[in-house]
Amino acid sequence: MKSFSSALVGMRRSPYQSLAAVIMVTLTFFVGYAFSLFIIGAERILQYFETQPQVIAFFTLDADPTTIETAAKTMQSKSYVEKVTVVDKQKALELYQQDNQDDPLLLELVTAEILPASIEVSGKTAADLPKIKEDLNQISQIDEVIFQQDIIESLTSWTRAVRLIGLGSTVVLAVSSFLTVLVIIGIKVTIKKQAINIMRMIGATRWYITLPFFYEGMVYGLVGSLIGWGFMYGLLLYLTPWLKNFLGSIAVLPVPWELLGLQLAAGSFLGMVLGGLTGIIATRRLIRR
């Protein structure tokens, strides 16, 4: 406890250095937390699209029901297929009527006979969709296969890009934070070099000398993590109405409390470990000289 209070006294006596360290660590954690939520959200959106009927195969108008049923069973047996839904002519008409119920003229003109039957197939992942399309193209009496390849591919590449940018930014900021804290604690160790020499002369272990700086690093990590999370949460609350409107039926918000809690706990733990480690490295580097 003496070492911990020494760490707090050390921070209080050099407030600008401590503030610089906390701001840098806070920025790192803010970006880290924000990107992690963004990545989790993007994954959820991708999952949402992946669970929707993604490939639709339209049969020719004269396709018989047995062929349609056989095609559905064949597709369902594939390991990469999540779900197959058959839409026969009658159901296609019902859907058409439902979509165009405001336009009676269109409803009068269209009958089940002129609507093609179809099967809607969902893949387990977006990467399976080209294979599903290929399989459906090989089935007889299929007139056309359509799927939202562009949307899925675009979303997948965006998710990957966001993940890379987030990871890159977080790593760059984490390295900057590490170096900032290393330099700040290094300055403090240098200032206390005479006191450290005296302590070593009277029999202090390296660990005894290192401990206050270890705690100081941990405090920077913890405080930076807590403030960074607070800013991120504030931003999330501020953006929630707009995001809900933007995402429509995609249920990403509100972010579950369990997830936020886990994020805060993991981030704070990581912050304390990295901060403490930085304190140890800074002290040992200078003690060795």
Binding site: K2, R13, R200, M201, I202, G203, T205, R206
Partner: protein, 270 residues
Amino acid sequence: MIVFDKVTKRFGDDTFALHDVSFEVDPGEFVFLTGPSGSGKTTVMRLLTREYTPSEGEITFGETPLHELKSNQVFQHRRQIGVIFQDYKLLSDSNVWENIALPLYIIGKSQAEIESRVTDLLKLVNLVDKAYLFPSQLSGGEAQRVSIARALATGPRVIFADEPTGNLDPETSLSIAKLLHKINQLGTTVLLATHDTGVLDSLKSERRLHLDKGKLVKDSHAGKKPKRKPVPVKVDPEQPDTPDESDAKKDPTDDHQPTEVHVENLDGAK
């Protein structure tokens, strides 16, 4: 207890801080290390605390050859030696109480024990009323007494005082020398490096090792047996060693009735 056997300390190829120095110090001895500046007195201290390692020869402390100490054992060795410096080397951002308590915190004593010991040591060096002052608020003599109390805190086997009176006026110097002599009489081996003639004259009967240009040129007790056996370290809080005029005039070997500073040394005090 301390054996220097043909010890040489060289910096570079031909700069000798110590050259072929051999001597033995027995437990309970009071030894002056004398000699002009640059004669190697501080090097002896640094070799003894394993701050330096000898270029040649061997140093033994107790039963332990110092060259056999691993780097992670050096701190344990240093806890057996109380070091007093000419410039006091007190922590400027800690007060008197905290400076004296520091070695006790380092060795992990309980708060109650630390309070008890620091109080006793403050009485010993007569600084009870200055416990909460910072080093910058103390006179040279007071700062040196804090340094002595800190050196004594853990009950070391040896006190090495390196020019402890170098920054002090003659009167205060004598009182510091007397305090160290009293500590020696209570059982702690004391090595006092000094070229202060006033101090040397006040304790004429004690052993002197005279160094010059890194060589041991004279040992006043060469071939003689040590005059004292070691006794437990005691302090007398009721009779503090006050650095006042009357104190400086008293016979430095005057004895008193000590009480304990170390719990384990309560009985058997001289």
